[in-house]
């Protein structure tokens, strides 16, 4: 075998090996950046919250219970279909004051129901219960229901369509 091309500490064979591995790694990293970036995009790019009309001001009576209002979520894609729908529990506290809660339980996100007779929100999954002010009444939730901003704009009640609230530590 001719090993005549040997320099001080690198043979011709080692050189080819290193070049091959380096080329493969560089190519993998180069194509990896757009691939990984594309897959991680949803956690990098956030849609702006948007106000969504949920009904005329006069359709909500003062002092009534909570009513469920539906609206389109923050990032409705053309193929989202019914999954673009979002909901909140809304109550008219006074002439110009509204309160809106997320339908997602603060425990693990299941949909809470307003029980008018009991004046409680109840979660079907793991038994979380909330009072009418959204504070925890019973069960595992670590905090009260999440509140959404509400405003009245041109005679329309509007809710700020927000992300699904995720309880973090």
């Amino acid at each position: 075998m001719s090993e005549k091309t040997q320099t001080s500490d690198c043979t011709r064979r080692q050189f080819f090996m290193h070049v091959s591995i380096a080329l493969g790694s560089i190519a993998a990293v180069l194509v990896g950046i757009p691939i990984v970036g594309s897959i991680l995009a949803p956690i990098i790019k956030k849609p702006e919250p948007e106000w969504r009309a949920v009904g005329a001001l006069e359709s909500f009576s003062v002092g009534g219970g909570y009513v469920k209002v539906d609206y389109v979520n923050t990032s409705p894609l053309p193929w989202a279909g019914v999954t673009a729908q979002s909901a909140a529990w809304l109550r008219r506290e006074s002439e110009d004051k509204f309160i809106a809660f997320s339908v997602n339980c603060a425990h693990l996100g299941c949909p809470v129901r307003w029980i008018e007779g009991a004046k409680l929100f109840m979660c079907p999954c793991h038994g979380g219960v909330y009072y009418e002010d959204g504070s925890v009444a019973a069960g595992p939730p670590p905090r009260g229901l999440y509140q959404y901003p509400v405003r009245v704009n041109n005679g329309q009640v509007e809710i700020l369509a927000s992300p699904i609230p995720i309880t973090t530590v």
Binding site: L40, P42, W79, L108, P111, A118, C125, A138, P140, P142
Partner: protein, 466 residues
């Protein structure tokens, strides 16, 4: 020599397939492995093959679009030729695979087949278990109905409890900050491309290791594994007493695999696929997302763990279980293999099965959930059709008591049964309890007026054994 035989000889001469595969198929295995105890690994592989075949078939029709998947599932189930059966096989095949993976793992643990030199067989098996569980979960999500949507949200909320990166993980699972058009496409990509690709790689690796290290002989008490001599002993034993895997041992795998596959087919025909729930509309809150049976024990675990430490249990519990399984062969890779000499191993398996079965049994009834479908109390149960007693009974129906408490068989199981509460508590105690709540009961002081309260107390006081 007929044409077919000549064609085969030509093909084999040019490809060398029989020379490459024959020795592997006919490699010698310990005679005590050719038993019905050794059929569960291969049965898992057969169900995986069924899942690939039925999954690819479903992908011919299924539309992985958040807005249209539901309709395509209805179409598959009700209108396509054999679609109902294929969906049924894919569903029950998943159940069978989870079950068989569990049995396979228990049997390997009980006979300590993970010990030297098969540590990597076990570790690749643990990876396969994790991948199978992820396939089970993503499979329930691509069955894109109401339960799927809420299960995705519950999964995102669990991931959200991971310290520091929880919010990112939740967004990664949802494909954004809410359920919508991006969610299903991503779940579909996991379920049909990413995880299956990993499954193929690790199944190949797992099988390669079974050939490389030889199938583990059935253990005898008093014959411990010693890494210094094990390989030599194993090879000598196989050389002397070994029998060819194909067909002497493999025929039992084929018989059992045949029974498993045919059972799945029969169940798919008779019972069919699971009913699709209501459409995947996140604003439809009349949902009770319960996972498929093999996750019900975990569902119960999430409901029953103490709220103060639930974040730790939710995040570190599964991690710890995974880590323990992963490290098992490093904790002990030598010594006795027979379950007779390893009472702790038997106890751990028994305890695990008992815990999972217990959680499973309680998860099915979910007594911690309010019973929204409870039947209201009747005049007959109340014992009056007018007056305070009657009004109290009606309050019990209308003020939410009924969802959590049972009276004479009507109601929920969250709180104590109040059928005979009048024997336990007097009027004062009842009033105090209703007003202030306690333990897991909300206080109703702000909800009931005096009249309603006194009627309710009168009704409850009358609940006595005759």
């Amino acid at each position: 020599m007929n044409f077919l035989k000549r064609a085969w000889l030509w093909f084999d001469d040019r490809t060398g397939l029989s020379g490459a595969i024959g020795p592997i198929a006919k490699h010698a295995v310990p005679p005590n492995t050719a038993t019905w105890f050794y059929v569960f690994g291969s049965a898992t592989l057969f169900t995986f093959m069924l899942q690939v075949a039925t999954g690819v078939t479903l992908a011919f029709i299924y539309v992985p679009s958040s807005g249209e998947a539901y309709q395509s599932l209805q179409y598959i189930t009700t209108q396509t030729t054999f679609g109902r059966i294929v969906r049924g096989m894919h569903n029950w095949g998943a159940s069978a695979m989870i079950l068989l993976v569990g049995i396979h793992m228990i049997q390997v643990y009980l006979t300590a087949a993970y010990k030297f030199p098969r540590e990597m067989n076990w570790i690749s098996g643990v990876v396969l278990l994790a991948l199978t569980v992820v396939m089970g979960f993503t499979g329930q999500v691509v069955r894109w109905d109401q339960t799927a949507v809420w299960s995705t949200i519950v999964a995102a909320e669990q991931a959200g409890r991971v310290p520091l990166v929880g919010g990112w993980l939740a967004d990664f699972i949802l494909g954004g900050d809410t359920v919508g058009g991006t969610t299903l496409s991503r779940m579909y990509a996991y379920h049909v491309f990413l995880i299956p690709a990993l499954l193929f790689v690790f199944i190949g690796f797992h099988l390669y290791l079974v050939i490389k290290n030889g199938i583990s002989e059935f253990p005898r008490a008093g014959d411990p594994v010693d890494p210094a001599t094990y390989r030599e002993k194993y090879e000598a034993m196989v050389k002397k007493k070994g029998i060819p895997f194909w067909p002497d041992a493999a025929w039992k795998d084929m018989v059992f695999g045949f029974i498993v596959i045919c059972t799945i087919l029969v169940i798919a025909i008779v019972i069919g696929p699971p009913e699709l729930g209501p459409p995947p509309n996140p604003s439809d809150i009349h949902a009770l997302p319960v996972p498929d049976w093999y996750f019900v024990f975990y569902f119960a675990f999430l409901a029953l763990m103490p709220p103060e430490i639930e974040t730790y249990l939710m995040v570190f519990g599964p991690l710890l279980v995974g880590l323990l399984l992963f490290c098992l062969p490093f904790i002990s890779n030598r010594g006795e293999r027979s379950p007779i000499r390893r009472p702790w191993a038997v106890a751990i398996v028994a305890l695990t099965i008992a815990t999972i079965s217990g959680l499973w049994a309680i998860g099915i009834t979910s007594p911690w959930s309010p019973n929204f479908d409870a039947k209201p109390l009747t005049a007959e149960i109340i014992g009056a059709d007018s007056g305070p007693l009657w009004r109290g009974g009606m309050n019990f129906n209308d003020k939410g008591c009924l969802y959590c408490h049972t009276v004479s068989g009507h109601g929920g199981q969250r709180g104590p049964d109040l059928t005979y509460v009048g024997d336990r508590l007097n009027a004062n105690e009842l009033t105090w309890r209703i007003m202030n709540g306690g333990l897991n009961m909300p206080g109703f002081g702000g909800t009931l007026n005096n009249q309603e309260l006194s009627d309710l107390v009168e009704f409850l006081s009358s609940r006595k054994k005759k």
